[in-house]
């Protein structure tokens, strides 16, 4: 048994400093995005933190043109599911890339998007 090593708070504190952290199961090797109590693959509880390089490719994306309150002034903006090199995926806002240039398979790199107290996962050019 191990303690839960990465909380949401610590994941985003690390992300704010530019570091993405995954968790790897010490029993079966499953890699996951925290937090997670039990391993979804083997149901054991033996997580250890692993740094993720933040490099990946877009597996799907959309351009949000009708935004919710709170993001209204930001539209249009791109959101993508990015498959990271280590094998896990992460959802993020795509920035610093022309919207019309986005394609499935495009390489991107993680960057934190800091807005006041909030840290948001972002991806920019690889």
């Amino acid at each position: 048994m191990t303690e839960r090593v990465i909380t949401l708070k610590s994941f985003f504190e690390e992300a704010r400093a530019g570091r993405l952290t995954g968790i790897r199961c010490g029993k079966c090797g499953e890699l996951a995005i925290p937090p997670k109590e039990f391993c979804p693959a083997c149901q054991q509880r033996a997580w250890g933190p692993v740094p993720l390089k933040g490099e990946g490719t877009i597996s799907s994306f959309t351009i949000i043109r009708v935004a919710p309150r709170g993001h209204a002034g930001e539209a249009p903006y791109a959101v993508a599911v990015v498959k990271l090199a280590e094998g896990v995926s992460l959802l993020g806002r795509v920035v610093d890339m022309p919207l019309e240039a986005l394609t499935v398979g495009l390489p991107v790199k993680f960057r934190p998007l800091v807005k006041g107290e909030q840290t948001v996962v972002g991806f920019g050019p690889a």
Binding site: L8, F12, A32, I33, P40, S59, S60, F61, T62, I63, I64, R65, V66, A67, P68, R69, G70, H71, A72, E74, Y77, V79, V81, V88, S89, L90, L91, G92, R93, V104, Q118, V120, V121
Partner: protein, 384 residues
């Protein structure tokens, strides 16, 4: 476990209402009780579904409030919330209560009202059904969730925007014949294809509307149901879940919770997709209908778009899907939708659907999906 039947259904008109969501449910429940030809005092429990009442109407503790508006204050009441699958989840639990022999007659349904608030507020409240740490801050919306699914389906199978548009055209064509539908107007393929993008590749006419409305169903044990001439039997009701996180979906082109819930419901009913005559499924976006027709086993993965294009899912086609007009044309009051789909299937199986009747329908299926495809319910119904 005892057999369970639907003995009464009720539905408000879908669209904009001045009354609040609990009042809308109460109106539908009144009609369901009248339809069931029972005394309100026969009801032994109330299961109520609502999603945004806390945010949009500053109202919580809504299930005893619903009972109060109905004048039924001595029964246990429970409120359910599972995003857009809310009242189908409530229905499954009500079925279990009757099947287990705890109650003989249970009232279940839902109500939702959102058209009194601005669209960006409603979009935000619906967005609360996705994760507040990884997804909402990124600005992901529900059209965005299904746009990610659509893009993956297009990449993998070559599904086209035009095929998706066919779903919208078909459901609007069906909805013309539904007096309760929000939009009773045919639309053309061009209208869909020329509408503005909301979340690429989904356009305005790929999306269901915001809707106010209520729906209710009266469930009864076999002993009670045998005394009613228009009872429709619940053959199976299964729930499945999947990870909440878009980043954890193994294959964005599939909705695995639909596949698992369908398997469970078919197994309970001893039936398969080939036995189903009429379907009400969760077409919150056109791509959702395409993926659902695959996940429910009507078409092979990748064939859902072609099925829509060929008219196989129209009334009169191989497997009629959404004769009510679906969420797209009938409307989508999220807390009431699951119960509303059940109302339609019961009406179809009773042979009371008028100009939108699927002739000779004996077995029907309802499918309701909640949130980031994380909750899915499938139920099967039969005339005998």
């Amino acid at each position: 476990m005892r057999r369970v039947a639907v003995i009464g259904v009720g539905l408000t008109r879908f669209g904009k209402h001045e009354r609040n969501s609990v009042e809308l449910f109460a109106e539908a429940a009144r009609d369901a009780i009248t339809d069931a030809e029972i005394s309100p005092s026969a009801i032994q429990a109330l299961y109520y579904g609502n999603v945004t009442g806390g945010e949009g109407e500053r109202q919580l503790h809504t299930s005893p409030l619903a009972a109060s508006l109905l004048g039924l204050t001595n029964i246990p009441t429970t409120r359910f919330e599972n995003a857009c699958a809310t009242s189908h989840v409530a229905f499954r639990h009500a079925v279990m209560e009757v099947a287990a022999g705890i109650s003989d007659v249970v009232l279940v349904g839902g109500g939702e009202r959102v058209l009194h608030i601005p669209t960006d507020h409603a979009t935000e409240y619906f967005g609360f059904c996705s994760d507040a740490s990884y997804e909402q801050p990124v600005g992901l919306t529900f059209p965005g969730v299904f746009a990610l699914i659509a893009r993956a389906h297009m990449e993998k199978y070559g599904t086209t925007e035009e095929q998706m548009a066919h779903v919208a055209v078909k459901n609007h064509r069906h909805g013309v014949h539904n007096p309760k539908a929000q939009f009773r107007k045919e639309i053309t393929l061009e209208t869909v294809l020329r509408s503005a993008y909301v979340a690429d590749p989904l356009k305005l006419f790929d999306c269901c509307p915001f809707t106010d409305g209520g729906a209710a169903v009266v469930l009864a044990s076999e002993e009670v149901a045998r005394r009613h001439k228009r009872s429709i039997w619940v053959l199976g009701s299964a729930a499945a879940s999947d990870t909440m996180f878009m980043h954890e979906k193994r294959d964005l082109s599939r909705i695995t919770a639909t596949e698992r819930a369908a398997l469970g419901a078919y197994r309970q009913a001893g039936k398969g997709p080939q036995d189903v005559d009429v379907v009400e499924l969760h077409d919150c976006f056109t791509i959702a209908e395409i993926v659902a027709t695959e996940g429910l086993g009507f078409f092979e993965p990748g064939m859902g778009g072609i099925a829509a294009e060929k008219g196989w899912t129209s009334v009169g086609g191989k497997i009629p899907v959404n004769p009510s007009g679906g969420l797209k044309s009938k409307g989508h009051p999220i807390g009431a939708t699951g119960a509303a789909q059940i109302c339609e299937i019961v009406t179809q199986l009773r042979g009371e659907a008028g100009p939108r009747q699927v002739e000779g329908a004996r077995v029907g299926l309802t499918h309701t999906l909640g949130g980031n495809t994380a909750t899915v319910l499938v139920s099967l119904f039969g005339r005998d």
